[in-house]
């Protein structure tokens, strides 16, 4: 199987950095880091939502576990002297739906556009571990109008749970146990695949299991993030002359319906030991590893939906599942994790840091993701002015 050549990471990042202009001297205060942005930097960096905005959109903010701005100031994904968030009075000014805590921890991932490009950047604001976090009734007056939730449904007749469960974030946690055994099923019995024995198993019983140090590779995010102008070829018309291949997408648009930027977590795992995959899965895993390299537990890195569904799962080499909605499995069911709509032009602040999976030697597992992040942070553009692919 192919592995990432030694030094490749440093080589790619070095090339990217050579193309960058010198980094401007950062200001001492968090707000200054944002305010110092040039005139071309018109995208504000991400901040946590206000309590009111959470409630208006059907989620009880007190049930957001590990909420940035309230908890997890240090610790994963921050390391060393890093902090995950800072107080910043510009947040609510830039966007009144935000509260004044700016997010520095910027998690990288693969958008599900089939390219496997590491150009998606998100802010994991917190976790939802129980269905009861979704409001069933709520009302707030706004001028002469009322924002109401009745029977879990907002004024548009949509239940928040229904919206956010259309958007899947794929978590790929380490399957290798401390004793070196590669576990081929999660310990959550309802999730266990019939393709592999139930034990030995790997645990998903708390939100920490999706913290970056416990991931074997970076996140992948589902493709149904519809562009409102249809520019992503999303097809939602039932007119065959418009959509000859049929209605192909979620009824909801990520940026226009899922206003909290939430995702349901779909855990994806291998049901075979990559060291002994057998005659069917061996060639499958080898082909993916040759393209993408190996993850931290020795299994091939999965970057696309095609690899997940049509190669790994279709051949019985992997499976996927979600947590029980009553919280009995203990882990994260949903992420409050808004994707940065456009990471260019100031959205990646100068004091932000990239949260990505790293090799044991500290080098990034995906150097191109690092290069993309650094370029965005320093120039406001992807390397070479491209799209990070």
């Amino acid at each position: 199987m192919k592995t990432i050549p030694k030094g490749a990471a440093r080589y790619v990042i070095a090339l990217a950095l050579l193309a960058l202009p010198p980094l401007a001297m950062p200001g001492p205060a968090a707000a200054q880091d944002v305010a110092a942005a040039s005139a071309g930097n018109f995208n504000p960096p991400p901040c946590d939502y206000s309590d009111t905005f959470y409630k208006d959109n059907g989620l009880d903010p007190t049930q957001v576990v590990g909420r940035f701005g309230t908890a997890r100031r240090t610790g994963p994904p921050a390391t060393g002297n890093q902090v995950n968030w800072v107080a910043d009075s510009t947040c609510a000014t830039n966007d009144p739906n935000r509260r004044n805590f700016r997010i520095l921890a910027t998690t990288g991932g693969f958008p599900d556009d089939g390219t496997g490009s590491p150009n998606d950047f998100i802010s994991i604001l917190g976790f939802v571990t129980n269905q009861t976090a979704f409001e069933t009734t709520y009302s707030r007056g706004v001028g002469s109008q009322q924002i109401t939730i009745n029977g879990s449904q907002n004024p548009r007749g949509i239940a928040a749970q229904d919206v956010v469960s259309n958007f899947e974030a794929y978590a790929l946690v380490k399957q290798r146990l401390p004793n070196g055994v590669f576990a081929t099923n999660p310990c959550q019995a309802d999730m266990a695949s019939p393709l592999a024995p139930a034990t030995p198993c790997f645990q998903l019983n708390n939100v920490n299991t999706v913290f970056t140090p416990n991931l074997r590779q970076d996140w992948r995010f589902a493709s149904n993030r519809n562009a409102m102008d249809g520019s992503d070829n999303n097809c939602i018309s039932d007119d065959p002359t418009v959509c000859p291949n049929g209605v192909s997408d979620s009824p909801f648009g990520y940026f226009c319906d899922d206003l909290l930027g939430m995702w349901i977590i779909t855990y994806v795992w291998y049901t075979v030991d990559p060291a002994n995959p057998g005659p069917v899965c061996g060639p499958v895993l080898q082909a993916i590893a040759a393209r993408n390299g190996l993850s931290l537990d020795g299994s091939p890195i999965i970057k696309t939906a095609d690899e997940t569904n049509n190669q790994v799962e279709a051949n019985g080499c992997g499976a996927e599942g979600q947590m029980a909605l009553d919280g009995s499995d203990g882990g994260a069911i949903w992420l409050v994790c808004p994707a940065i709509p456009d990471p260019r032009n100031g959205a990646i602040a100068r004091d932000a840091f990239l949260d990505q999976v790293r090799l044991p030697n500290g080098a990034p597992q995906n150097p191109q993701m690092t290069a993309n992040f650094l370029s965005l942070q320093r120039t406001g553009q992807f390397p070479g002015g491209g799209n990070g692919s």
Binding site: Q161, N166, L195, D239, P240, S250, N309, M323, L325
Partner: protein, 444 residues
């Protein structure tokens, strides 16, 4: 499901049909009816009797306007396939046969319905995807039927039951359907109520579960895909776990609408069905109806998203042997124009194929006079987005529809749930049978 009181059995129907034919022959010999045409319609009995009452009345009105005597024969939904076959064998049967599913395997006996779609296009727009992929035969390049309405298949669940196991908003994915269902049976003694029997409900439910777990039956170009990957085995094992942990043996033996009756009696915690279930509850017991909530189908696996096949795709076929083809074509075109009334008379069960015929559909779903709360049905507002055609990822082909109507899938699943076959063996046997069906149609 509600059955109309005037529904006839297949045997009764055949007798009636013969009698009707004889009567018409006699009438045709008289001078009074010498200039009068006859339009004979065979249709499945709608779940909402009010709809069939309206249909009969509207058809009679249409007949008066077109100097045509309209004769309607209804058969129970499960008997429509056999009745249509008998109709064709008699060669003196009906002009139109109305099915609750795409009658693709009858295409050799049906006229090309493209002209009907073309006629209504000027009023209601191009043929929508669901109708196109449900009634078009890519081999013949013809439409073997015309679709006028469809019914979505949402999940119905008892909010009070599910609240007791910590899921008051219902099971949003199949894993939760299983884990919540198990707790409900353990704690309350209430099993889950998906239909696994050889009925319309059982077929729609099981085809949906297979599809939503990427265990596709046929490829777009009609090759058998089932059991050529791991998804079939995985789906069957899921169903086995769901049944063993949360089900009841009655799921395997329910007749038509058995899942509906179980829900109405509050004997089960959830099921998938057309909203005729909830409508019946509203009429029979508002207290029960008040506890039933709807939600879109559970989230599938392997990238399939939220999806469910239609409970009904109402398709009308004009037989080539029809004596009154022109009248039949006109009747069906006009029927599409009556979709708004059809929606109302079916108590909102019949979603129009042409959205323009009921342009305020979402408003109506948002404020329903019978529902409590009134916005309960708004969960269906995006149903068209999560409802593909029977036959997906391909068209509703003759082979697929034979697989569907022969209940091959429920039989396969039952063999696993009863312990007669392992999931591996059942999938293998079913795939062979599917291949046999496909091969026969390829030679047809």
């Amino acid at each position: 499901m509600v059955t109309a009181p005037d529904v006839v059995s297949r045997r009764e129907f055949l007798g009636k049909a013969a009698a009707t034919t004889a009567a018409a022959s006699l009438a045709g010999s008289g001078k009074v009816f010498a200039m009068r045409k006859t339009l004979r319609i065979l249709k499945w009995a709608h779940f909402v009797p009010e709809y069939d009452g309206w249909f009969a009345s509207a058809a009679a009105d249409w007949g008066r306007e077109h100097q045509t005597k309209v004769v309607i024969d209804k058969v129970p939904v499960e008997g429509i396939g056999a009745a249509a076959t008998a109709d064709l064998k008699s060669r003196r049967g009906h002009d139109i046969c109305i099915f609750p599913w795409p009658p693709a395997h009858f295409y050799q006996h049906a006229i090309d319905h493209t002209g009907i779609y073309q006629e209504v296009a000027s009023r209601y727009g191009a043929i929508p995807q669901l109708a196109y992929r449900s009634t078009f035969n890519p081999q013949t390049k013809q439409h073997f039927a015309v679709a006028d309405f469809w019914m979505p298949s949402p999940l119905h669940f008892f909010q009070d039951y599910w609240a007791q196991v910590g899921m008051p908003l219902g099971p949003v994915h199949y894993g939760a359907l299983r884990s919540g269902g198990r707790k409900l049976r353990q704690q309350l003694g209430i099993p889950s109520g998906l239909a696994f029997s050889a009925t319309l409900e059982g077929n729609v439910t099981l085809h949906t579960i297979l599809y939503s777990r990427r265990a596709w039956l046929l490829e777009g170009h009609e090759g058998v895909l089932f059991n050529k990957n791991a998804f079939a085995f995985e789906a069957l094992r899921y169903l086995q776990a769901l049944y063993e942990e949360s089900g009841t043996s009655e799921q395997l033996t329910w007749g038509s609408a058995g899942n509906v009756r179980a829900m109405l009696a509050r004997k089960t915690s959830s099921t998938t069905n057309a909203i005729s279930l909830l409508r019946t509850a509203e009429k029979q017991d508002p207290g029960v109806a008040g506890q039933i909530l709807l939600q879109p189908p559970p989230l599938g696996t392997a990238g399939m998203g939220v999806t469910a096949l239609p409970h009904v795709t109402n398709c009308s076929a004009v037989w080539r042997a029809a004596a009154n083809q022109d009248g039949a074509r006109q009747f069906l075109a006009d029927l599409i124009g009556n979709s708004r009334q059809g929606f109302e008379k079916s108590l909102g069960c019949n979603f129009p194929i042409y959205p323009k015929t009921v342009p305020d559909l979402i408003v109506r779903l948002s404020k329903d006079a019978q529902a409590s709360p009134s916005y309960k049905y708004v969960e269906l507002k995006d149903a068209l987005h999560w409802t593909p055609n029977l036959g997906v990822p391909g068209f509703a082909s003759p082979a697929y529809m034979e697989i569907f109507t022969s209940s091959l899938v429920p039989r396969m699943v039952q063999s696993v749930l009863k312990g007669e076959r392992s999931a591996t063996d059942a999938a293998s046997v079913a795939a062979i049978e599917m291949q046999r069906i496909v091969s026969r149609w390829q030679q047809a």
